[in-house]
Amino acid sequence: IETSFNDTFAAVSGHFADVVSTLFPGGQGRLLLAEPAGEPDGVEEARPGEEGSLPKEEEEEDDEPFQSGDRRGVEIRVKLARKSARNLSLLSGGERSLVAVAFLFAIFLVRPAPFYILDEIEAALDDVNITRLLNMIRRYQHKTQFIVITHQKRTMECADVLYGVSMGADGTSKVLSRRMDKTATAGSTAGTEAK
């Protein structure tokens, strides 16, 4: 069991680093196995002035792969471009969404689930980061199925199928329409009556 976890952990960590550098150009992400006492997330001694980066790989040497019985947790570390590494709680709302998405995609890339439902995950993102996120979803749309709930027009534009839902006069939800081609999705989600 432990070995297969270590292999999976190594694969997920590798993908996490890749996805973080895609969603945060110039950024670095790493997953670490927590010391059993568990150091708080993402707290690094920031080394000022040095071309900042995450602690060197050699720190991994003391990871005891076979601490049987002691399931070591997984810590998330990120270092964004130009900024020193710091506690995940100090990241901004949009930055936190993207780090969380990076973790989900890192797992997806090792073991894709047959489908994903993403409910307004881009609510905190600015235009540039919405684009980065949507590019990621488009890149992997052939590996799995994405069902995305949104109010953002730009997210609607990448739909293969677009569903409209509305609340009817009788107080119940109605499934409005289903458009197949990508060009037809320029409409808005304004609360108009049934489209």
Binding site: V74, E75, F103, I121, V148, A159, D160, V165
Partner: protein
């Protein structure tokens, strides 16, 4: 394998039977606030065996049953059916389509079905976890995208263990 359709009846704001057919690519769902979009995500999570009422935003599991509107009486039962395309055989069942469904009645009694024959919760959970649909990260509920960052390191390990 992919999710081919979701049918909901008496489930939350879907008083009458509603059906969504999905393709394998990107499906986007839009609509005004309160129209029922997140209820679809809840319906899928619930049909797959979700046991915690708060995961579907209720105080008790019966909160998923349509509780009436100005014009309509409350429903006596909620039912959701998911149909999976199994042409790649990811689900260890002989069929090219597999239907998983769940019901709950006002008195709290519930029932699960695989291809319309009654089964237990554990059968549904086992079937789906073989296909990578365990407790994992495949449904991100509204406002919960950062939950991964707030979860304990041991929980995150659990997600990786599931992928092992």
């Amino acid at each position: 394998m992919f999710l081919k359709s979701v049918k909901a009846r008496g489930f939350k704001s879907f008083a009458r039977s509603a059906e969504f057919g999905f393709e394998s690519g990107i499906t986007v769902v839009v609509g005004p606030n309160g129209s029922g979009k997140s209820n679809i995500a809840d319906a899928v999570m619930w049909a797959m065996g979700e046991q915690s009422p708060s995961a579907v935003r209720g105080a008790s599991m019966q909160d998923v049953i349509f509780s009436g509107s100005d014009k309509l009486a409350p429903a006596g039962m909620a039912e959701v059916e998911l149909v999976f395309d199994n042409s790649n055989g990811a689900l260890p069942i002989e069929f090219s389509e597999v239907a998983v469904s769940r019901r709950i009645y006002r008195d709290g009694e519930g029932a699960y079905f695989i291809n319309r024959s009654s089964c237990r919760l554990v059968d549904v959970v086992e079937l789906l976890s073989d296909a990578g649909l365990g407790k994992g990260t495949h449904i991100v509920s509204q406002g919960r995208v950062e939950a991964i960052l707030e979860s304990k390191p041991e929980e995150r390990r659990g997600y990786i263990e599931e992928a092992a």
